[in-house]
């Protein structure tokens, strides 16, 4: 695995659009990245739930020759990414003081160890890995994602991801305390969050269409903050709607307002 290198996962209606979007986000030409198609997308069963295409772009390190073994993260590799991120950052009003820490294996090790330790104490047997998740969302630091994989772990997700969120919250408190700064941590079980994110993005777009076609504001079900955020981000660049959260947690919900 080359999970130490900078990579970006993008989801879009088609493979081509996903690649396009990813290259745009990274601000890099096509020849500077390796493209891996994770999911070509396509029609779901019974014509329902069309799947989006999913691709992973990995920034080639400068020393990479065609056919050569991928080299581990070099300083140059990290810098390339930082530059692209910073260029995007400059467009945002909210600048983060802390630059993303890429290639900082210590943070990944701590994150993985803390989650493993918690699972072990819960008598859960599972594989735990940690990686950085570069995103196009430049408002936050580069998240660290800890993936938990194993047999039949749905009880680790719980109703409305309650257990998964508890695990993520406790893990992030412990990790932050241990390394002395705040890390944006995502804990995932069997790809649940990615699946949920796809669902939410589709829902967001559907609600936007409905808002426009009916001329009425659409109110979504109550969601936790991380899920509301996905909806806001998905519709951020859509000029025909505005989004707004109303109510108080845990009943806070997103509304989509036609413009």
């Amino acid at each position: 695995m080359n999970d130490k290198r900078t990579n970006l996962e993008i989801i879009a209606p088609s493979v081509e659009e996903a690649i396009e979007k990813g290259l745009n986000d990274l601000g890099m030409p096509r020849q500077s990245v390796d493209i891996e198609i994770l999911d070509e997308g396509g029609k779901g069963l019974f014509g329902l739930g069309n799947r989006q295409a999913r691709v992973r772009l990995t920034i080639k390190s400068e020393t990479d020759e065609p056919g050569a073994e991928p080299s581990p993260t070099s300083a140059g590799n990290g810098d390339t990414f930082l530059t692209a991120e910073q260029a995007l950052d400059a467009e945002e009003e909210e600048l983060d003081e802390e630059p993303p820490f890429l290639g900082d294996d210590y943070v990944l090790d701590v994150a993985r160890d803390v989650v493993s330790e918690l699972l072990e104490k819960m008598k859960v047997r599972a594989d735990v890995t940690a990686e950085y998740v570069p995103t196009s969302d430049t408002r936050s630091r580069v998240p660290v994602r800890v993936n938990i994989n194993g047999d039949d772990l749905s009880y680790l997700i719980g109703r409305q991801a309650e257990t998964l969120n508890a695990l993520q919250y406790i893990s992030s408190l412990i990790i932050n305390k241990e390394i002395g700064r705040s890390v944006h941590l995502i804990v995932d079980v069997e790809g649940y969050r990615l699946r949920r994110e796809n669902q939410l993005r589709q829902l967001a777009r559907r609600m936007a269409d409905q808002a426009v076609s009916t001329g009425r504001r659409q109110v979504l079900e109550p969601m936790p903050a991380n899920e509301r955020r996905i909806v806001h981000i998905e519709l951020r660049d859509n000029p025909s709607v505005e989004t707004e959260s109303i109510g108080e947690d845990p009943r806070r919900k997103v509304t989509v307002i036609p413009q």
């Binding site: 819960m122 008598k123 257990t163 508890a166 695990l167 919250y169 406790i170 408190l173």
Partner: protein
């Protein structure tokens, strides 16, 4: 189960020497008591009880793994 709460508490407090975790059995329920230094109470309870509730959630799963039920009480230091 006791292990889980002890690990979390020890990782979050500033004063680990004052962390005490004990476990009592009441019928089919296992009662876990956590005691920490007064200054650390906020760290194990959290805003609107978020840390305590997250610990309870994980504890519930850990207990269910062993076919049991468990509850967590966070005690004020004497």
């Amino acid at each position: 189960m006791q292990d889980l709460i002890e690990y979390i508490a020890l990782s979050l407090v500033d004063d680990p020497l004052q962390v005490r975790v004990s476990q009592y059995r009441r019928g089919s329920n296992v009662e876990i008591r956590l005691q920490v230094a007064k200054e650390d109470m906020g760290r194990v309870i959290g805003k609107r009880g978020r840390v305590a509730n997250s610990m309870r959630n994980l504890l519930r799963v850990a207990a269910a793994r062993e076919g049991q039920r468990a509850s967590l009480d966070i005690m004020e230091p004497k």
